[in-house]
């Protein structure tokens, strides 16, 4: 059941280091398109995965990434210095995917800031784990994470999957740092509360 994760690993592009991204951003600002191309390449996997959280159509996400970078290149002369390139790009992608989705569905009334659905299915990575109890623990945790409300899942996803710190999560979600912190701890609390009688739930879910 966890086989698909096997091949993916070596296929995954290396995430750009923070310092390198900041330097490349400066070079892009100075008019170097290859620098922007490198940023795109280095963060593509993250951005693509992130885009799919708002719309499941892979081709549409690819197009949104294309358009976002073309916009960046057109705005090259007026672009500002950004504190965190990855978080900045993630905000842009999220905005574009949500607005494209709204256009497609014609749902102008939907409140995009709060009303979107965060599409994620956490799936435990159980490779090389032999101990049955440990397998069970991880599956249980995964199961509970999947049952959290949308915003909390988004925080968990950014924290554990994209490995962002609270500062970056706040920037990506366009929330205050304290709100992110609260969301995160609410999630942890609810996960710990579920821990005790999680056994029964998990057994049901397992069958």
């Amino acid at each position: 059941m966890d086989a698909p994760l096997g091949n993916e690993r070596q296929n995954m592009a290396q995430r750009l280091a923070y310092e390198e991204a900041q330097n490349l951003w400066q070079e892009y600002k100075d008019g170097d398109i290859t620098a922007l191309g490198k940023i795109m390449e280095g963060y593509y996997s993250d951005l693509f995965n992130w885009g799919l959280r708002f719309n499941a159509d892979r081709e549409m996400i690819k197009d949104c990434i294309q358009e976002t970078f073309l916009t960046l290149w057109k705005k090259q002369e007026t672009i500002r210095t950004v504190e965190n390139v990855r978080a900045y790009l993630m905000v842009m992608i999220k905005r574009r995917v949500l607005s494209e989705k709204n256009k497609q569905q014609g749902d102008v009334a939907i409140d995009r800031i709060e009303g979107y659905e965060f599409l994620v299915e956490f799936a435990p990575d159980l490779r090389l784990i032999e101990e049955e109890h440990e397998v069970y623990q991880i599956k249980k945790l995964s199961h509970h994470i999947n049952r959290l409300p949308n915003r909390q899942k988004e925080v968990i996803y950014l924290r554990f999957y994209q490995n962002q710190n609270f500062e970056q999560i706040a920037e990506t979600m366009q929330l205050g740092r304290q709100s992110v912190y609260n969301l995160f701890h609410k999630s942890l609390k609810s996960l710990r509360e579920n821990w005790a009688y999680g056994t029964l739930l998990l057994l049901l879910w397992w069958c």
Binding site: D32, M40, N49, P124, L126, L141, I156, N163
Partner: protein, 362 residues
């Protein structure tokens, strides 16, 4: 060594080395194995951190490297079509490429060449064998019709700027043993530092590096092939694709930044020379104006040597008495030399990758 013994669950989760170990990289196997053995009391926190990382994976098959590269390429092509200031991009590369197109007085005449370039780092590796190109599969070919330099991103993060009317064939993924690409025409390479060597096959010429910046010129219908080194250190050897190991001890040349090699086929001789427009080793120094007021000429030559990393040979005794007053800024090196030599009735020539000043002095 990081202070892992003071780490809590949160710290382990955020640590990239820990994450990649949990997610199956064998690179840090020993590190964490030893850590658990030395700090058994940390086991519980380590396990909880591992649980969190494993539980929060996301199942969608991520996008492949090939797919990413083709998307980046699509973006670069589209940006080029629509935006007029693309020509400004890659200024350094295009300067070097242009100088290469019109034969310059400093180039030796050379027939079709056959060279192998090895970086200085691997000199003495007598056991090296050229991998057979036939084994490489899944090659992608890009032909540059655009009339402008075209950047291509390779799977290992190396960047190739392909000149007009040139073609590059490259695997969508590199094998573990070597990174091999095939060039017809001209391209400048910025090779990412990595363990396995990077090879450019072009006609009868092979260029081999471990991570440096250089330009290969190998148009099929041109009479000579050249390799120019922009940064790093490279060695050039005589040899043929598929042939025996190059004789590293006898026929090699070492090239440093701003130097170039030409192989003359008829005489089977390798020549060292200087690239047409040498660049300052440190970009920041290049932009500074250098003002000389009644300064002995040898001092100026020494400054140029340091700035461009090129040896300048001259008769110190003869030129010591020559005093020079000048302001040098961003003019090309050979323009600067021409101007200086003129004031003291001297001439310069390029011999074996060095500059030799001839003149009677003052």
């Amino acid at each position: 060594m990081k202070k892992y013994e003071k780490y809590g669950v949160e710290d382990f989760i955020q640590d990239e080395e820990f994450r990649s170990w949990v997610l199956g990289s064998s690179q840090y196997e020993l590190l964490w194995f030893n850590f658990i053995r030395n700090y058994p009391e940390k086991r519980e926190e380590l396990e909880e951190a591992e649980r969190w990382i494993r539980a929060s994976r996301v199942s969608e098959a991520p996008i492949s490297k090939q797919e990413i590269r083709s998307e980046v390429q699509r973006f670069l092509n589209r940006a080029q079509d629509g935006v007029s200031h693309f020509n400004e991009v890659g200024r350094n590369e295009s300067v070097l490429i242009k100088t290469n197109e019109k034969p310059s007085h400093i180039w030796f005449h050379a027939a079709a060449a056959s060279l192998i370039i090895l970086t200085g780092l691997i000199i003495g590796n007598h056991y090296y064998r050229m991998p057979s190109p036939a084994k490489v599969n899944n090659l992608v070919e890009t032909f540059n019709h655009t009339g402008k330099p075209l950047p291509i991103f390779l799977a290992d993060s190396s960047v190739v700027v392909l000149s007009a009317n040139s073609a590059l064939r490259y695997p969508s993924r590199f094998t573990d043993s070597a990174r091999i690409v095939y060039l017809k025409g001209e391209a400048s390479f910025s090779v990412a530092h990595q363990g396995q060597p990077f090879l450019v096959f072009s006609g009868e010429m092979i260029t081999r590096v471990l991570g440096t910046k250089f330009v290969v010129n190998a148009f099929e219908n041109h009479k000579k092939y050249t390799v120019q080194v922009l940064s790093g250190k490279v060695s050039v050897y005589q040899g043929k694709e598929g042939g025996r190991n190059p004789d590293l001890a006898s026929k090699g040349l070492i090239l440093t930044a701003n130097q170039a090699a030409i192989y003359e086929r008829q005489d089977q001789q390798l020549f060292k020379t200087i690239i047409a427009d040498p660049q300052a080793l440190d970009e920041r120094l290049k932009l500074k104006d250098r003002t000389y007021d009644e300064v002995p000429l040898p001092k100026l030559f020494e400054d140029l040597e340091a700035l461009y990393g090129i040896t300048i040979l001259f008769d110190t005794a003869a030129f010591r008495k020559c005093r020079i007053t000048a302001t040098l800024s961003t003019e090309p090196l050979f323009e600067q030399l021409k101007a200086v030599c003129k004031t003291v009735s001297a001439t310069y020539e390029i011999v074996d990758g060095q500059i030799v000043i001839n003149g009677k002095g003052c």
